[in-house]
């Protein structure tokens, strides 16, 4: 009995392959986008973990130069000779066979606490780095790719993929480092009586180091949210497909039950059938997700490098945990999507019959429930944002608003279409709107998916574009000097200064020191009083006489991150006693900053000297050429303002390329949802279209109306997506961004972008409707006549 029942159920799918494809594709896409994002997150986390192990000395203090430059071998030797137990580390990117690897060179003999193989805290140095067997240690999968490098390679299962370990001498040769040391690892067991650390250096103890995981958490939360949104879009498709399949199989269910199949067995069969589809689609989705992740990972790596300086490799490892979580999500998603259909099946009267408006009537009956659920989602989102803190509040609000708005969509569209129907002048127009309203239940899931995709597009692109506009303006303000000069030594500063003073319109030194504010690390700057800053500095809030007060040493400026973190406003007092005179924007920097006058800075940090200078000049190219010629400066010592802006903007654009890719993917999924829904509905539409055709409309006219209908519904959905998208943008800018990055961005509107998105959506809707419309236009008359046939 069960086998016969299953066979009867399955026969529906063989006769409706498009519907089966809808279900599998929707679920596979949902799982793919979700598991792809999870794959990226897992890979990034693995990279952070790897960065925190012995290779980066994550648990150990680091010694580096105050000016941020790399150390020389001489400096290292001097420190060792003075008694400091430090060990050099060099890091860089090694490319082999088109793949980038992060190569870390360490010095095993001086590594804190141990000879090779021993451990200090988490620091364990593997063997095989020295002597005749000295080699580059690599994950076994990576070792095969490194056959071309000019060094022996040894497979080591203890390595993370994409990260290589070598003796520093070997690393120096491979990276062409020429004696460069990025930082020194400081042994926790320093001898007594060592001299003070020279002022040119600083030590970052573990609690002071930048915690990449914490900083990047917000980024990964963003990605996870996008993954969930995409998953939701996919689940809408699955919901639509299972609902339509239920409607179409009403007669089969009724017949099976009439023939003696108990309801419980029928439910079991339908559940087993959906479970099978979930597993197949889930497996396909995880595999597809792997491909998506592999395609997006380089952009994600660029984003993380650009935003936080976090290094992750552009490689992906297929993990079992993804398969399991991906399949679990597919099964859970199917269960959520199918529960309504299963409830309807359980409640379906044995003698129920199918008529053309069944879905429409049922939808009308459940509209008030839908509205209540939508209101509950919105209220839940608002409640979370009120009760919770941080990013959870922001994303809770977003989820509630988006889902609430999506559920409201069929109700709103139905009301609009009803209004259009009552206002329609001609018979065709009236039928068109009435028929559109009747089609709504079948299309509503796809339209909800479109609404979410469009709102996400508008929201995210408004945020990114607002960010870009603000960032560009900010760069114009902060990079107001035409040239930026970096010199290597105080002696060189003294040598160059007379030339600079006589040839530049103004020389603006950049001098800074490490500080702490509110228990967290911050950077303090000394600012020379100059019109350049008075005219250009990007102040968000300030006292009226801010610059005069600052020049007089009566207070400090702080960046927005510090102000938000410590809840400071102008007039408040910092822990060091300085009064906050103003707050400035400081995009792209996660740390707090304090700016005081140059004189005050010098009095507090007498040893700190400026090695970087902003130079004001009308002739930047000529001044740069003269400086380079006269002082034999390296190429990177002088940076042109325009180059710096271009570089910053390119980093910015690359940073958000992954967001753009996800936007396009989500919109594509929504387009696919419309196409598949229309194809599925096409067969159910014949009893609705055949009478109109018989009464005097051609198939071509009907096909044209089908196209117009799809585009009209997309337009209506798009119009509703605009306010929702702008609301989303506001939450992203005013809530999520502040929590994630510590700064709030002004919101700008970009009508041209919205029009472009609108045009893209219309094209997507048109293309999605084109195939079903062409099929209708070319449909043989016999197919339509079969609707009326007495011997059907």
């Amino acid at each position: 009995m069960m086998a016969s029942g299953m066979s009867a159920l399955m026969s529906h799918w063989w006769r409706n392959p498009w519907q089966l494809l809808t279900l599998i594709a929707g679920l596979a896409l949902a799982t793919a986008l979700w598991s792809g994002v999870q794959a990226i997150n897992a890979e990034a986390r693995a990279s952070y973990a790897a960065a925190s192990d012995v290779l980066g000395g994550g648990d150990l203090a680091r010694l580096s130069r105050v000016d941020g430059r790399s150390l020389s071998t001489d400096e290292y030797t001097t420190l060792r000779r003075s008694g400091w137990l430090v060990s050099p580390v060099m890091q860089g990117i090694l490319e082999a066979q088109g793949t980038e690897f992060v190569l870390t060179g360490i010095e095993p003999l001086t590594w804190p606490g141990a000879s090779p193989g021993a451990e200090t805290g988490s620091a364990a140095v593997p063997g095989g780095l020295l002597g005749e067997e000295a080699a580059v240690l690599a994950h076994p999968d990576d070792a095969a790719l490194l056959s071309d490098i000019d060094a022996p390679v040894r497979a080591d299962t203890g390595r993370t993929r994409g990260r290589l370990l070598a003796d520093i001498a070997l690393a120096e040769r491979l990276l062409e480092g020429r004696g460069r040391i990025d930082y020194l690892i400081v042994s926790p067991d320093q001898p007594r009586g060592i001299p003070d650390l020279p002022e040119a250096y600083r030590i970052s103890v573990p609690e002071n180091t930048t915690d990449i995981s914490r900083l990047t958490r917000s980024f990964h939360l963003n990605l996870t949210a996008f993954g969930l949104l995409s998953f939701a879009v996919g689940i809408f498709i699955v919901y639509g497909a299972t609902g339509l399949a239920f409607e179409q199989r009403r007669a089969v269910f009724r017949t099976l039950r009439a023939l003696g199949l108990p309801l419980s067995r029928l439910m079991l069969l339908v559940t087993a059938e959906l479970g099978l589809f979930a597993l197949v689609a889930g497996a396909a989705g995880v595999a597809l997700g792997y491909l998506i992740a592999a395609a997006l990972l380089p952009d994600v790596a660029a984003t993380l490098r650009g935003l936080y300086g976090a290094e992750i490799t552009g490689q992906l490892t297929l993990r079992w945990s993804w398969w399991i979580s991906g399949l679990a999500m597919a099964v859970a998603g199917t269960a959520v999507a199918a529960v309504a259909a299963l409830i309807r099946l359980a409640r379906m009267p044995l003698l129920s019959f199918n008529h053309p408006r069944a879905m429409s009537l049922q939808a009308a009956g459940t509209q008030h429930i839908l509205l209540l659920v939508a209101c509950a989602f919105c209220a839940g989102g608002l409640m979370i944002s009120w009760l919770a803190d941080g990013l959870v509040a922001g994303f809770g609000l977003l989820a509630g608003l988006l889902l609430g708005a999506a559920l409201c969509l069929p109700v709103v569209l139905s009301a609009v279409l009803r209004l259009a129907e009552t206002r329609a002048g001609g018979a065709v127009a009236q039928w068109f709107w009435a028929d559109s309203r009747q089609q709504l239940p079948g299309l509503s899931m796809a339209l909800m998916a479109l609404l979410l995709a469009m709102a996400a597009n508008i929201g995210v692109s408004t945020m990114v574009s607002s960010f870009r506009l603000t960032f560009t303006g900010y760069l114009d303000q902060r990079l107001s000097s035409e040239l930026y000069l970096r010199v290597n030594s105080d002696a060189q500063v003294i040598e160059m200064m007379p030339f600079l003073v006589s040839n530049a319109d103004a020389v603006l030194p950049v001098v800074s020191a490490d500080a702490r504010e509110g228990g967290l690390p911050a950077e303090i700057f000394g600012l020379r009083d100059h019109q350049t800053y008075r005219d250009n500095w990007p102040l968000l809030e300030a006292r009226a006489d801010v610059w005069d007060q600052l020049a007089a040493g009566n207070g400090a400026l702080i960046n927005e991150q510090l102000a938000r973190r410590q809840n400071l406003v102008p007039g408040d007092t910092l822990s060091g006693g300085d009064v906050v005179l103003g707050i400035y924007s400081d995009y792209g920097n996660p740390a707090g900053q304090i700016v005081i006058s140059e004189a005050l800075f010098t009095s507090r940090y007498p040893g700190a000297t400026a090695r970087q200078f902003g130079l004001r000049t009308d002739r930047p190219d000529a001044l740069a050429a003269a400086l380079q010629e006269r002082f034999d400066l390296p190429a990177d010592a002088l940076i042109n303002q325009q180059d710096l802006k271009a570089f910053s903007l390119s980093v910015f654009d690359r940073t958000f390329s992954v967001t753009a890719a996800l936007n396009v993917l989500t919109l594509s999924v929504a387009g696919l949802a419309i196409l598949i829904s229309l194809l599925t509905l096409a067969a159910m539409r014949l009893p609705q279209l055949a009478p109109v055709w018989a009464l005097g409309m051609t198939r071509r006219q009907l096909a044209g109306l089908e196209l117009i209908r799809a585009v009209s519904l997309a337009v209506l959905t798009g119009l509703l997506a605009v306010p929702l998208g702008l609301l989303l943008a506001w939450v992203l800018l005013a809530v999520v961004n502040v929590e994630a990055f510590g700064w709030r961005l002004p919101m700008f509107l970009f009508p041209a972008d919205m029009l472009r998105l609108g045009a893209l959506t219309l094209i997507v809707a048109f293309l999605a409707a084109l195939w079903p419309a062409v099929r209708l236009a070319r449909m043989p008359p016999q197919t339509l006549l079969r609707v009326f046939s007495n011997e059907r």
Partner: protein, 236 residues
């Protein structure tokens, strides 16, 4: 339009291709109808009755033969012209799925007339009243009984004043009493409107109420005369 014939069918031939083989459905069917005449087309299932109606309505194309409605050749018409002819000259009543499910009863009655540009709300109201539909005008088709739905289809057909009504088993789904009432209404209102009625039916009793009968078997007319005059039921 001065042709006394409402319909002239000559040598109508139709075949379908099934599995690569040609299956003949109609072979040289010829008959004519005068204005206001009622004609029953009877025959066993698969004899080609409905195909004759579909070809006359321009819903399908014949392989050979001629079809003239009110003196206008329609057999070779384009899709658009056929559609225009259905909007203006021909009214159709099927056994089922006649009505547009998304429109109310009032919307369905007016739909065809509005398409043909002959909508007359007063006439629609009269027809609705005559067919006993005045209390159902705001309802949707699925809330009506089968008989009520067929009455709506008849009202819709007559609202656009067609010269020829093609009815394909309009009472096939109805019980005997309801079927009789519906047929009475169809014939009475058609007579008052001066429309010719060509009806496909399996019911000998209903066929007997028409002016004439033609019997089709395996695609050929085997009984009845092709051009008999209407009886006294026809208006002068």
């Amino acid at each position: 339009m001065n042709d006394p014939l409402a319909l002239r069918v000559s040598g109508l031939t139709k075949a379908y291709t099934s599995g690569g083989a040609k299956v003949p459905v109609l072979e040289g069917v010829s008959f004519s109808m005068q204005r206001g005449e009622t004609l029953a087309l009877v025959g066993e299932s698969g004899s080609g009755k409905s195909t004759v109606l579909h070809l006359i309505a321009g819903l399908d194309r014949p392989c050979a033969g001629s079809i003239e409605i009110s003196g206008v050749e329609v057999a070779g018409m384009s899709d658009a012209d056929s559609a225009a002819m259905r909007r203006g000259t021909v009214g159709l009543v099927f056994q089922q799925f006649n009505l547009i499910p998304s429109l109310t009863v009032a919307g369905n009655i007016a739909f065809h007339a509005r398409l043909s540009g002959r909508n007359d709300p007063d006439r629609n109201g009269e027809l609705a009243a005559r067919l006993g539909l005045e209390d159902h005008l705001g309802k949707y088709p699925e809330t009506l009984s089968g008989g009520q739905q067929q009455r709506v289809a008849i009202a819709r057909t007559l609202a656009c004043r067609p010269a020829l009504i093609l009815a394909d088993e309009p009472t096939g789904n109805l019980d005997e009493a309801t079927a009789d009432r519906v047929l009475d209404l169809l014939l009475d209102t058609a007579r008052d409107a001066g429309a010719a009625v060509l009806m496909v039916t399996h019911s000998a009793r209903h066929a007997g109420r028409m002016n004439r009968q033609l019997t089709l078997s395996r695609g050929r007319i085997v009984q009845g005369r092709a051009g008999e005059a209407p009886d006294q039921r026809q208006p002068a």
